[in-house]
Point group: C2
Chain length 574, copies 2
């Protein structure tokens, strides 16, 4: 208990980018979500657009503001939700936008209003969280600023995504087929919704054997150039909403100073490039120099962590006065080798909390081991956690808890779930079970989660999984190789300047440990942010403060499906 009090006291000290109550405003928007024909990579496909734009409009708000978004579903037959990635939804868990977890999906023709407070400054984004609609292009940036914050620079937003020519419906069906049909690597990478398929802007260097792209500056796939002045500092706000790809971003001839990760300041450090996993955001400072004559530099985004089959996304850092038409003199930076995981881990391990952030509580009350495995279920390929593959029910968990409807709570496994498992080879017993069970967390706990990676079903392979937690930031306590060793590895946790994140990578054959405090009643999804993996069951759900949820005044519009709808309708019978 004293741990908690101490933590809470420390927490209020981190006010650098928190809002004062007096200045709070309201940011309100009316959105219409619909399919549109677009050519994000110069090849026509269909995107889920918001108010006719793809990606969706960028939300700008100040810390402390109330954001109100009225989302009208104008799709023909598909439901929809929107998740506000990085927003902790303190007091408004029904606005988290996770279908089946915190709300019912919005039916065609209907409107759902999201209303939440953005309590601190940071770089966030939003995206669909139903089926694989994120992969269909339903996403956009969300930038929360604060007049108090110290990093006042000219800014650029870079929203990174990957793009498939197969519709999200077909991707889902492929992954759910027996045998599973793997969707392969994305056709293109997009920067702010723009990319080029099967060609490279740097093709004249014969980059990757690709021909030079042939688009005009008015094409919807033409990249947005970053136009800069010499000798200035720019803040690049970078978010990755990829469906599958882990990315690396580099700016030719420039260093990047990392200052923010997932909406929290980090102790600044300078690198030549950054790795960014799906679900992560970074702010990096880019200091321009003074090239003479003024010239252009490549900004390049390439695939990491999986054997890439997708060209780099390229855009241009354009110094004022540089030629508009002249080609760049040098090829873009090569993306680091995809399987150089040590390089990736080194980057991850450079990230520490900025000064003034509270360290994690010194001890935890509970340890939750989450063994990540790839499995089979009656011939279907699944991802499973502790041998259960998640299937989100038709009735949102938050509604079932609020109204005391039947729900299965899972028991916390002991460390033997990892000890007894051979993580280095394909599973001996590959079978799994589908489950809708969830974990029950009482309030005021300090929870450690140990994510343990393992070998996939076939071959000697282990994949990267970026895990994202809704409703919380967590401290990243450490990463390790092989099996987590209780009593050994936990002794080496970083309890001094562990960074606060909402997404963290689990590296191949390794473990990642994180800690958070259960101070936010709600039902929170915790899942691999790779869309196909989540679709195949790679997630868990935390019911946090069940007693508090049972007293919540949840807007009924969030619960108009499944058993809660049935219950309400029977209550109203007359």
């Amino acid at each position: 208990m004293s741990v908690i009090v101490w933590w809470l006291v420390t927490a209020v000290m981190v006010a650098a980018h928190s809002a004062s109550a007096g200045s709070a405003g309201v940011v309100e928007s009316y959105w219409e979500v619909e399919n549109q024909f677009r050519s994000p990579d110069c090849t026509e496909g269909v995107v889920i657009a918001i108010n006719g734009t793809f990606p969706g409009p960028t939300i700008y708000a100040n810390a402390g503001d109330t954001v109100i978004i009225h989302v009208k579903n104008k799709l023909s037959t598909e439901n929809v939700v929107i998740h506000w990635h990085g927003i902790r939804q303190n007091g408004t868990p029904w606005s988290d936008g996770a279908a089946g977890v915190t709300q019912c999906p919005i039916n065609p023709g209907e409107t759902f209003t999201y209303k939440f407070t953005v309590d601190k400054a940071g770089t966030h984004f939003y995206h669909g969280h139903y089926g694989m609609q994120r992969s269909a292009g339903l996403y956009g940036m969300m930038v929360v600023r604060s007049p108090k914050e110290t990093l006042h620079y000219d800014e650029f937003n870079l929203l990174l995504s990957d793009w498939w020519h197969l519709s999200s419906t077909l991707q889902e069906l492929s992954l759910s087929s027996k045998p599973m049909r793997w969707i392969g690597e994305p056709q293109s990478l997009l920067i702010n919704g723009r990319g080029q398929f099967d060609c490279s802007q740097a093709g004249y260097f014969n980059e990757g054997g690709l021909k030079e792209c042939n688009f005009t500056k008015d094409d919807p796939c033409a990249p947005t150039t970053l136009r800069v002045e010499p000798n200035k500092v720019y803040r690049l706000r970078i978010a990755s909403t990829t469906s599958l790809a882990s990315l690396n971003l580099a700016v030719e001839g420039h260093q990047l100073e990392v200052v923010e990760a997932d909406g929290n300041y980090v102790a600044p450090f300078t690198v030549g490039d950054i790795d960014i996993y799906s679900g992560e955001t970074y702010s990096v400072l880019l200091r321009t120099h003074n090239p003479s004559p003024p010239r252009k530099y490549w900004i390049s985004v390439g695939v990491r962590g999986r054997k890439p089959n997708t060209p780099q996304a390229l855009t241009v850092l354009h110094y004022a006065g540089a030629s508009e038409s002249e080609r760049l003199p040098f090829p873009p930076r090569e993306t680091p080798r995809w399987d150089d995981f040590n390089r990736s881990k080194n980057f991850s391990k450079k990230i520490f909390a900025a000064k003034g952030y509270p360290p994690p509580p010194e001890k935890s009350n509970a340890q939750l081991f989450l063994l990540n495995t790839q499995n089979l279920m009656e011939g279907y390929t699944k991802w499973a956690i502790n041998n259960l593959s998640l299937s989100v029910p038709a009735t949102p968990y938050i509604g079932s808890i609020r109204y005391g409807l039947p729900l299965e709570y899972l028991t916390f496994p002991g460390p033997e779930i990892i000890e007894n498992y051979d993580i280095n080879h394909p599973p001996v017993n590959p079978n799994t079970t589908v489950s809708s069970g969830i974990y029950n967390l009482t309030m005021g706990m300090v929870v450690d989660v140990i994510l343990q990676n393992s070998n996939v079903l076939k071959g000697e392979i282990s994949e990267v999984h970026p895990w994202h937690l809704h409703g919380h930031d967590f401290w990243v306590l450490g990463y390790g190789e092989g099996k987590f060793q209780p009593g050994v590895d936990d002794k080496r946790y970083n309890l001094t300047n562990a960074p606060l994140r909402n997404t963290v990578a689990l590296y191949p054959y390794g473990w990642t440990a994180l800690r958070f405090v259960t101070d936010n009643p709600g039902v929170w999804f915790f899942h691999c942010h790779i869309e196909p993996h989540l679709h195949m069951g790679m997630g868990v759900v935390f019911a946090e403060g069940v007693d508090q949820i049972a007293k919540m005044n949840i807007p009924r519009e969030a619960l108009g499906c499944g058993s809660t709808r049935e219950m309400f309708m029977n209550q109203g019978r007359h």
Copy 2:
């Protein structure tokens, strides 16, 4: 009033294929609806399958039975409904399966139970009625038999459909785009869900310049052969659930005796081929002869009414003893010229009610003129009726009426809506309005509907529209050329042996008149059965017996969306 009484008295005389109450049974099925990869035309695509089958399972029931179908939606993000085409849903209008009209669409993961009585024998089918899901392959046959019926023969079911390689989602988006992108003609025609793309089984005759199809008998696209004995009578139950195509069916070397249309017996007549529009069903008797040696004959289905760009669907009438491997000696019958509308009208005009059927009431109480036009709305292409393009609301009409929620009722236009319109040229003022307004019909009325065709937006073209009425059979009073002339054309109505149908063709530049009695309280869709046309607004809705609907005990599961859901949830607030 006496007209009605007379009609009701006559109606009970038509008992040849009605059920006796004592023998009524229950036909109950549990269905799971999901996307599946299939190759209906030897090319892989995605179909909406039911319990893993495409087309869905054939429902067999006896007249008087109660049919109970529990439909579980296992699609990932799309809602679904199923309409029971030809079933009048007397007393169960909420089971009609028209999304937004008689029920809310079923959400993924949820189950809706349809329960209705099949009151008379006949050939029917069922299909999706949400978005353009019928075009995605959500359909199957429904055969209602009666021990009392006289036509006891060995039977074959032939469910005819058309098939696109563009998904129904992309078809919808194409049609809803600005400017509209026409989806073109189907890639294939299917018989019982099987067809062949870009080839012909009769290709060795160089039929239509197509190569011969190359499939094995185990391929899912291999046709189901109709195996017959000599000198027998077979009943072919034929239904067309095409999205777009009007069809013609012929059996090489055989005549067809038409005996049933849309679930009603007709005065038998013999033809060499039949035209069948989307939404229509026929039973034809096929008398085999005794070919020596035994041989095979083509059954061919081709496109009528639109300039075809789709090969004939072919299957084989296989006499017992004929060679399995030998090719057929003659090419299939050529489909009649697509634009020989006189030939089509001649076929329509051969259809009269069988003896014993009641003639229509002699006079009507109301005339509803429905002017069919193609229009523009802010650059979007629409179809409109009386200059209103239908947009079905998120709250089903039946729920709005039941609970007195706001609803717009349209006034019946006078004949001047036709008199003042130039049907022979593109519209002078092409603009239309989108409307959710409906027509209010009181009980006990005899309603005449006069469908008036006209020229489309561009060029000198008028299209065929097969109009389908839910909840009723109607008498087809007559067809005519040009503008309907009140006081002239209505004098020539067939009031003696007008056939009862639920679907009727409106021919280019002409009119079609029909009559029905408002004896079935409910909300009934009346629309062009061409899926793209309905998607573009070509329909009207009849609220029949608003006072009766307001007293109905509608299952609340049918109303769990939109304003009715909101109302129930507020009633239940505590």
